[in-house]
């Protein structure tokens, strides 16, 4: 609540100063709306946007919802920013469908809207989308797990996000494809379950829930060889359950994100490999596209992949990976 109030307040202040100084109207005003203002991924994204705005001579407004799923908070922030004169909105949508009418309203007023990190549903509700290819992220860690497994049988546990979430499905299915198993296409929103996947649980991306899911799966399948988790907090929970069960040395645990804590877990051997995302790149490309639009009227379109890289402490033959130092150099969160 406090957070939302402060973002309203800052928008009002900006509105005041914009009205007071019409002569400086040529400075491009860009609004960045994140899911939360505290999650390290979005903090890093905001820092990247601030730096890019400074370089480009643009003014950046920032706002966020209160938490994952707070659509109303994002709508309020967007309305305030448009009222404050923002010509460009960069947004990481909390609710891919619910935000669409508000985005349409902003675009009808001539505002350029770019989705960062996750797309809207339908994707063409925004002018462009910049983000990680989550299916590709899954493929990278799947290939790594396949190579690290060698001749051992694949007995896989997946700790997924939550039912019906496209990012969770893309990472899961990409992982299966990377493992060389039967997998749904990148556009599918259902989780593939070939015979090699012996246990699945929903972690909601949460450490404690990931731990509970892993413990229960170990009860069902004690001889698991590979564990995939949707993100690093859930991987940390799984690693703890594996350690308690004395299986941390034999089970290959792979995940996605590239936060500093996750990379440190890779360095410590708790996680075998992670696929790193680049929030700063999303922000930079977004701000640059926004400035170009304000100055020339040229709009970006379609999907731009902001890249993903495999980070592993121990490289395996035939799979390209970066080491922990490289991962720490570009991670998000406290180093």
């Amino acid at each position: 609540m406090l957070l939302r109030l402060s973002s309203c307040f800052s928008a009002v202040l900006v509105l005041g100063s914009a009205l007071a100084a019409p002569a400086r109207a040529q400075v491009p005003v860009i609004g960045l709306i994140t899911k939360t203002s505290t999650n390290p991924f979005f903090v890093k994204m905001r820092e990247g946007a601030e730096a890019a705005a400074k370089v480009a001579g643009a003014r950046l407004l920032t706002g966020s919802g209160r938490g994952d799923g707070d659509n109303a908070g994002q709508v309020t922030a967007m309305e305030n920013m448009v009222a404050a004169g923002a010509r460009v909105i960069l947004i990481t949508v909390s609710d891919a469908k619910a935000i669409v009418p508000s985005i349409r309203k902003a675009r009808a007023r001539g505002v350029l809207v770019i989705a960062l990190d996750s797309p809207t549903d339908p994707m063409d509700a925004t002018d462009a989308f910049l983000g990680t290819d989550n299916y590709q992220a899954g493929i990278l860690i799947g290939r790594y797990a396949r190579a690290a497994l060698g001749a051992r049988p694949a007995r896989i546990v997946t700790l997924d996000l939550l039912p019906g979430h496209p990012v969770g499905a893309q990472r899961h299915n990409g992982f299966l494809a990377g493992m060389g198993l039967v997998a749904p296409a990148a556009t599918a929103n259902t989780l593939g379950k070939p015979d090699e996947v012996v246990c699945m649980a929903d972690s909601y991306g949460d450490q404690a829930k990931g731990q509970t899911g892993m413990e229960n799966c170990l009860q069902r399948i004690p001889d698991v060889t590979v564990v995939y988790t949707v993100n690093e907090p859930s991987a940390a929970g799984a690693a703890r359950a594996l350690k308690v069960a004395g299986k941390d040395k034999t089970v290959i645990l792979v995940t996605v994100d590239g936060g500093c804590q996750g990379v440190r877990d890779v360095a410590a051997g708790a996680i075998a490999a992670t696929a790193q995302q680049y929030p700063v790149r999303m922000a930079e490309l977004g701000v640059q596209a926004g400035v170009t639009f304000v100055k020339t009227g040229k709009k970006p379109s379609g999907y731009t992949d902001t890249g993903v890289a495999l980070i592993a402490a121990r490289s395996v033959k035939g799979v390209e990976s970066r080491d922990v130092q490289a991962g720490l150099a570009s991670c998000f969160g406290n180093k």
Partner: protein, 334 residues
């Protein structure tokens, strides 16, 4: 004094009471029966379900929400509700972990400080409910937000790792007949027994029921209802601190994102356990059973290889059944 309280079992004429007495007892036994039926079902589905190791696991998975549910039961017995419990727990966990790591304060002192913070939050809830007479729903909705923001700000939204061994000692195990049991589970069971005895056997415990049953009558009997309420909310806060310690011990970290669903999880456990949301009626041990029902379904369905969404579905059905039973027995009782 205790016998004068409206909710205390009074020696009334038996003829009028047969129906009244029987229905609540079904309400009390219901959760136990549901748990037994669920266990029997899963035992036939998977041979590993009925092992000591698996039961120890389910117990350790419900210990955090189990201890929160003790505090929540006390609050609900007074016809209140505490939405802030999970967030207050997260704050307590982050405070103790951060003090012990980056501040270098000895673990026991850090733990005490963490529990102190949660107790303070409980006291604030209690003061707002009693002194300013705000509805508990609104008060705890407010403190939920405050505790969430404080947790994020204090931890910088970062998970706190490398907590000292003393702080995770309750997550260690000891052998019982060949099964490894977590110390935290023992602490949870001791707290349940202690709280149950206090609620049933002491005047203070009976006052908690009385305040929930009929605050006006209780006040007219000369009981300071404000003091009872303040004590309940404060004690609940202290219990959330213990839950915070258990959470740190279980996950091995101070997690700023912990506790997001624990308020509704705890209320679910209390309601499944047969405690009336209208206050004044319920059995504390029922809340433990309620928490175990959720844990057993989550574990059993995973063992069967069934999606955990079905556990959510079953929980929803059982919650409605439990509240319906309570409502019907209440109507019959009039």
């Amino acid at each position: 004094m205790a016998t004068a309280v409206p909710s205390a079992p009074a020696p009334n004429p038996p003829a009028r009471l047969t129906l009244r007495e029987r229905l609540p007892s079904i309400g009390t036994l219901g959760p136990f029966v549901a748990l037994l039926l669920a266990c029997a079902f899963f035992a036939t589905r998977h041979e590993r379900f009925l092992t000591g190791e698996n039961f120890a696991l389910v117990l350790q998975q419900v210990m955090v929400v189990g201890v929160i549910a003790i505090g929540q039961t006390l609050v609900i017995l007074t016809a209140g509700i505490d939405l802030s419990c999970g967030m207050v727990m997260a704050l307590g966990g982050v405070v103790m972990a951060r003090l012990a790591t980056s501040m270098g304060i000895p673990a026991p002192a850090a733990i005490a400080a963490g529990i102190g913070v949660t107790t303070l939050f409980g006291a604030v809830n209690g003061l707002l409910v009693t002194r300013i007479r705000l509805p508990p729903f609104i008060v705890t909705l407010g403190t939920l937000n405050i505790a969430f923001a404080a947790t994020q700000l204090y931890s910088d939204a970062q998970t706190i790792t490398e907590v000292p061994p003393v702080m995770v000692a309750l997550g260690n195990t000891f052998p019982v007949a060949g099964t490894r049991v977590v110390y935290g589970v023992v602490l949870m069971l001791v707290l349940y027994l202690l709280a149950a005895v206090i609620l049933r056997q002491t005047a203070a415990g009976r006052h908690v029921y009385a305040v929930g049953n009929n605050p006006e009558a209780t006040r007219l009997l000369g009981i300071d209802t404000s003091r009872v309420l303040l004590a309940v909310y404060t004690l609940a806060g202290a219990l959330y601190g213990v839950a915070a310690l258990l959470s740190v011990a279980r996950t091995g970290v101070g997690d700023p994102n912990a506790g997001q669903t624990e308020n509704l999880d705890a209320i679910t456990a209390v309601v499944l356990g047969g405690t009336s949301l209208f206050g004044g009626r319920g059995l504390l041990l029922g809340s433990l059973v309620g928490a175990l029902i959720v844990g057993v379904f989550r574990n059993g369905l995973t063992l069967m290889g069934v999606s955990s969404v079905y556990q959510v579905l079953v929980t929803g059905v059982l919650v409605i059944l439990a509240v319906a039973t309570d409502q019907l027995s209440r109507r019959e009782g009039r």
